[in-house]
Amino acid sequence: MEYEEKRYRCRSIVKGSGEGEAIVSREAMCFYLCDPETGTVIEKNHPLQGRSIAGKVLVLQSGKGSSVVQVDGFYQLSVKETLPAAIVVRETEPVLVSSAVVVGEPMVDRVEADPFEIIRDGDWVRVDGEAQEILVRRPRV
């Protein structure tokens, strides 16, 4: 199968790199409402409810929820190794940044194009924090 690849500049907020299948959340997330064993979103009525974020590149609108709860959510996922491979954030928020730093979760924002426009569920994405670049690969149609 042939693939098309595109590269986009971004800004690294929490250093590190990761790659995997993309999963897109157009709503903010509270990571406390994920099952740590599987990384599955359990928040009622959340667009990602029932889907796992583990090992994927999560394209995320923003964070929500009280400070301590969000930190513990990231921590529990980290212990069970079910965190996303990297997070691409659209609207940066302080508690989300804090939580990602605590567990060393690679995070970028300020992608040169709207991440919801350039990344779709199922794309393969590499987030390179060092180069401050995102690579998006999908089958050529």
Binding site: I13, K15, S67, D72, F74, Q76, P94, S98, V101, D109
Partner: protein, 402 residues
Amino acid sequence: MRLSDEQKRMYDGSRGPGVQKAMELLVALGKAFDAEEMIPVSRTHVALSGQEGDTYWCELLVNGGARAVVPPTTNPAWDTQTLTRHYDVTPGELDLALRTVDVYRRIGAVLTFCCTPELAGNVPTFGEHVAFSESSATPYVNSVLGARSNRESSVSALASAVTGITPLYGLHFRENRLGTFLVDVEAAPKEPYDWGLLGWYVGKRVGAQVPVFRFRNLQGRPSPEALLYLGAELNTSGAVPLYHILGVTPEAPDEAVAFGGHRPAGSLSVTDRNLEEQEAELSEKGGKINLVMLGCPHYSYAQLRELDRLLAGRTVSVPFWVLTSGDAMELARRSGELARIEASGARLVPDTCIDEPCWKSFEGGLGVTDSPKCMYYRERRGQPFVIRRLGECVEAAVKGEI
């Protein structure tokens, strides 16, 4: 971001891995919000929770050699000595509570275990740059005391405690502290309880704005407890780390100063009727109760005196817990309120939060509280609450139902 030579040494690991981790967090926050530099903080308060993630972060810093240079006061977890005599917890839950105390002691925190440091123990002055987490404390130090803090998380406040700095952005700048939203209050709040309802009502509607309250029918100056309850609920139903009250809080002598000459982006009016409806919307309907829980945020000594007055000579028929600070409890012990309150069957406990495993035996039953914030966090753990003013909570405790 510009870092000084010493800040660079903290960032590159020369000051040990714990300090480096803290700096990474602060630099990440600073970059995320376009801070150009760090500024010193003179006070910190850490909203520890006794949850694993939060305790892990403190262990990571202290085991990496970090020590508090601006010793933080701390939020409550739970009083293991008192509460394990009354309620069952698992060995894992007890171990986590003891680990939390141990690790915060080792990092050099001031173990106040109290969520109202701004009333006693850690009181900033006007214009002081600080890093205060705890959703009720941040709006109080900003709004009432005129100190400057962003809406910190427990982990970012601890990072500031071990480095002595915070990124310069947001509410550290005067221009970001100006009011953006006008709240006209026809209602006449009296007790802290009424102020809490007002906070919840407004917080839900203003989101992350800076509300400016204009009272039409204010009866005297609001008490510290009233202002505390207002901020606690504003910052629970909304994300409001700063508010102003015209003619009362220090950055709002009049509308021109409070709004900096700008027009408010929106406005809202609040009547007593609105607050009555807010109570009805938040509260469970009533029935047999298994718990009365007061002290979210921690009851002050003045509130303990008021409780003593209302309980006088009566006997409660259900478990009745009042969460308070160690110093308020000691004052009540010396001054006589503690003995009288406990003679009624109610109990005081220091160092303890409503959201801890020691309270799980009440889950599934109906509680009564005077705090919407208490209701909000306990509901997630399966205990619904009726919300009423203190006098009605006491009546409910005597009757065992409401």
